[in-house]
């Protein structure tokens, strides 16, 4: 199969009702023989550009459209969206909403059936096989995990046997383990079938590991298009657009005397390259002093002999936590990590009293959750939902923050709300509807809703999930600051970079209970343990391990110091 090219020629597009064009005189060529990544800051127009490839622009969003976009010989303005869907498939960022049929096979066959293709079933099965989901063909969509649903959406696109697949921010909605699996799947599809894959992505570590070419979109135009190793070396430009180059690239750049450069003179963009470029040897550092996870001896939460599960449709009652014991102390920052389904969220919900344990007891600040209403427990314990949307019930963020205080007839509601808004720098969004904000803003607002209650314990479910890097940094900052206001913060997360930078106690949950309960430092020294829990350490930890730095560095600045000393010897 020969390759096809998407050619964008002088494209300018303006959404109806907007004064400024989103895309300005864009020129770019994308070849189906490559795995292309498109990056750019928020609002740079990268998603709009990709929607011009499959004809959603200008056929679905009519605006002012100038220039041409062609897929091979087909000019998009002369075709239509369903015609173009045969050559360009699109997996949306909110892929759950892309799945419209209840059963997996029907959903994958949806497009071929709509086009009246008689071999729809063979196509659907073949597509499911290529993403490794052939066994799930008869399952209901809602029975699948998020990662599997993403693969179903991908299969639905593959069933049309397109020449291009566009995947919009897969790493944003998936946990790192599944995101990596999706990328591996995509790369395999690209290599074996020569289908061009275009990923909109801002996690540069995935780009470094899996993509061939990098297209940078800035201010509605393609700023440049380079090979990935060249593109990711344009560190300044990336940082200006709030995109973080891979940790290894940043470390290499900070090392003195060009110690970190490859023979080509460029910085490495993958751990593999870094290992060959960086000074070798085994620099022994002093283990950094870290608290042991018991900020104080005062016990706030006791979980004893807890067994809990939920009923399932086909497999009876599924036990998630079995004979589980745990104590959480005052003044600590606890990270709860583990694979999906290990019971992280379930444990948090049990601590709120929204669910009562099947067996055993949960005691929060001296209250047995079996005998206390969740409303009463919420006076001291705050739970921030994984999906911040579920926290907005009023028309403005300000009202949402005030909701708790007002329901308790607090005498100085306005003052306390204003205080929280100021503490978290939310002035700019305080009077907007929470549900219409971007995910990053929603996340910050949901933290404010929680902190307004002046809690002793804060429970957060995936606070950095689906965030771009700037919002992520913001949230991490809030987390660090919120510790000054509360006794203990418990975070359920997949984000090991957050764990490395923030936590002082890590509880690793496995299928049969707690696998480890230690400091981040010692957890990161056990690669086998992390793998067992479907976790992947941050690049800096992986690099430390490969370079023989023991104990591993958890932050970039630490490893730079240690490598620099080593090199200078």
């Amino acid at each position: 199969m020969s390759s096809t090219t998407i050619t964008v020629d002088d494209l300018t597009f303006r959404y109806p009702g907007s004064d400024e064009p989103v895309l300005r005189n864009v020129n770019v060529e994308i070849d189906s023989g490559e795995f292309t990544a498109i990056i750019g800051g928020n609002g740079s127009g990268k998603t709009t550009l990709c929607k011009a490839f499959n004809g959603l622009i200008p056929h679905f969003f009519n605006g002012t459209f100038q220039g041409t976009v062609s897929i091979g010989d087909t000019v998009t303005t002369e075709s239509d969206v369903s015609g173009l869907s045969k050559t360009v498939g699109y997996v949306f960022q909110d892929f759950e909403n892309q799945l419209v049929q209840p059963i997996v096979l029907d959903d994958v066959a949806f497009a071929p059936k709509n086009h009246g293709l008689e071999d729809y079933e063979t196509r659907a099965m073949r597509a499911l096989e290529s993403v490794g989901l052939e066994d799930a063909a008869d399952r209901f969509i809602w029975e699948l995990s998020g990662g599997q649903q993403h693969l179903v959406a991908l299969a639905g696109v593959l069933a049309m046997e397109p020449q291009f697949i566009i995947v919009d921010e897969p790493a944003a909605q998936l946990d790192p383990h599944n995101a990596r699996k999706t990328y591996e799947q995509l790369r395999e599809i690209q290599r074996e079938t020569e289908v061009g894959v275009i990923a909109i992505e801002h996690h540069t570590e995935f780009i470094g590991d899996y993509c061939d070419r990098l297209v940078m979109v800035a201010d509605g135009d393609v700023a440049w298009a380079n090979r990935v190793d060249v593109g990711l070396n344009r560190v300044e430009e990336l940082l200006d657009a709030d995109i973080h180059p891979p940790q290894v690239t940043q470390i290499a750049r900070q090392l003195p005397n060009k110690q970190g450069t490859l023979p080509s003179g460029r910085y490495p963009v993958t751990v593999e390259q870094a290992v060959s470029a960086f000074p070798t040897g085994s620099p022994k550092g002093d283990p950094p002093v870290k608290p042991d996870g018991r900020g104080s001896d005062e016990t706030l939460i006791t979980v004893s002999n807890l067994t809990h599960g939920y009923p399932t449709l086909r497999e009876g009652r599924k036990t998630v936590l079995d004979a589980f014991d745990l104590e959480l102390y005052a003044d600590s920052r606890v990270a709860l990590v583990g694979a999906n389904g290990a019971g992280k969220s379930t444990l948090l919900r049990l601590l709120t009293g929204l669910e009562s344990p099947d067996k055993g007891t949960v005691t929060v600040l001296g209250n047995d959750t079996n005998d206390t209403l969740p409303e009463e427990l919420a006076e001291e314990t705050v739970y921030i939902h994984q999906n911040p949307e579920e926290m907005f019930v009023e028309e403005t963020v300000r009202e949402d923050i005030a909701y708790y205080l007002e329901s308790r007839d607090d005498p100085d509601v306005d003052e306390r709300v204003a205080d929280v808004i100021e503490f978290l720098d939310l002035e700019d969004i305080a009077d907007r509807d929470g549900r219409l904000l971007s995910v990053g803003q929603q996340r910050r607002a949901s933290l404010a809703i929680g902190l307004a209650t002046d809690p002793t314990i804060v429970l957060l479910d995936e606070p950095t999930g689906s965030l771009d890097l700037q919002s992520r940094r913001e949230v991490t900052r809030i987390l660090s600051r919120s510790v000054t206001r509360t006794e203990t913060v418990v975070v359920a997360t997949h984000d090991l970079q957050l764990v490395a930078e923030w936590a002082d106690r890590v509880i690793v949950l496995g299928p049969n209970g707690i696998l480890a309960d230690e400091t981040p430092q010692s957890v990161f020294q056990q690669p086998g343990l992390l793998e067992q829990a479907h976790l992947r350490p941050p690049q800096v930890v992986e690099l430390s391990d490969r370079l023989g730095i023991d104990p591993p560095s958890l932050t970039k600045s630490d490893i730079v110091d240690r490598l620099a000393t080593q090199g200078g010897r």
Partner: protein, 279 residues
């Protein structure tokens, strides 16, 4: 209080699961084994048939048959109870109202006699209503969404409507989860009434208020989701399929009326004949 809460928690999870089972686990359901067109026509007939009977006995026989069918079709017990309770309380209200009016007007026999008379008079009506609700519930909850949509499509119902059925089935679990999450989120930010009152009525009233309040945010969130859905459907050729004959044929290709479908219809009609002749 812990005891009551535990019961409440179990029932919410169990009701959710039971509803899911009704909607999704149709593999064993009797009425799912037949051709969907037959089942739709069959249920249309049996929604009308009870109105031709006026004596309680044949109606009672039909009610028993309908309940048996509902049982074999794995209809949700909660839904059945809800439906039957609905028709009974509705009729009960009519009985009370009419009796009070009768008594007020000074009719002979007094209030008690009036209640008895009116109940007997309304009994067939009650049973008719119950039979048709049970029959339609059994038929529509037993058929898998795919079959139901197919059946309706082949009977000439427009495709956007049959698509909506399949889409509805896809979305129900999402909505249920979302709604439950929102109610929980509200609970964690509200204050439960300090005195719960007799049988905890204040507390339940408070929960009822919260569950009503959670509806609007749910509708809002769903509307937001559907923006992407509409775009995605466009990219999957949905609007293209609306006028496409080939696509329609693919959808209906494997519908076939088998001997067992005909047998089912005949046996049902025979049952009606037997009931009307012998009872």
């Amino acid at each position: 209080m812990g005891y009551l809460d535990a019961i409440q928690n179990i029932t919410i999870a169990d009701i959710k699961l039971d509803l899911m089972r009704t909607a999704y686990d149709n593999d064993e359901a009797l009425l799912n084994k037949f051709d969907p067109r037959i089942v739709i026509i069959w249920s249309a007939i049996f929604v009308i048939v009870p109105w031709f009977f006026y004596e309680p006995e044949p109606l009672f026989a039909m009610l028993i048959a309908a309940l048996l069918l509902a049982y074999l079709s794995q209809t949700s017990i909660y839904l059945l109870v809800l439906l039957i309770w609905g028709s009974l309380s509705n009729i009960g209200f009519i009985v009370i109202l009419s009796s009070v009016v009768y008594w007020w007007q000074g009719g002979p026999g007094g209030l008690r006699g009036a209640v008895v008379d009116n109940s007997v008079a309304l009994l067939p009506f009650t049973m008719k209503l119950t039979v048709i609700s049970v029959v339609s519930l059994a038929a529509f909850s037993a058929m898998s969404p795919k079959k139901l949509a197919k059946g309706l499509l082949s009977l000439g119902v427009p495709r956007p409507f049959t698509f909506a059925i399949a889409y509805g089935y896809r979305m129900v679990p999402v909505l249920v989860e979302e709604y439950h999450d929102l109610v929980n989120s509200l609970r964690l930010r509200n204050k439960a009434p300090e005195k719960s009152g007799l049988l905890r009525w204040r507390y339940y009233l408070y929960l009822l208020k919260l569950s009503i309040k959670a509806f609007y945010p749910m509708a809002f969130n769903v509307a937001k989701r559907s923006r992407v859905t509409v775009e995605a459907m466009e990219t999957q050729g949905f609007s293209h399929s609306l006028g496409n004959e080939a696509s329609r044929e693919l959808r209906l290709g494997d519908l076939q009326i088998l001997p067992r479908d005909v047998t089912f219809m005949l046996v049902s009609l025979l049952f009606v004949v037997v009931v009307s002749v012998f009872l």
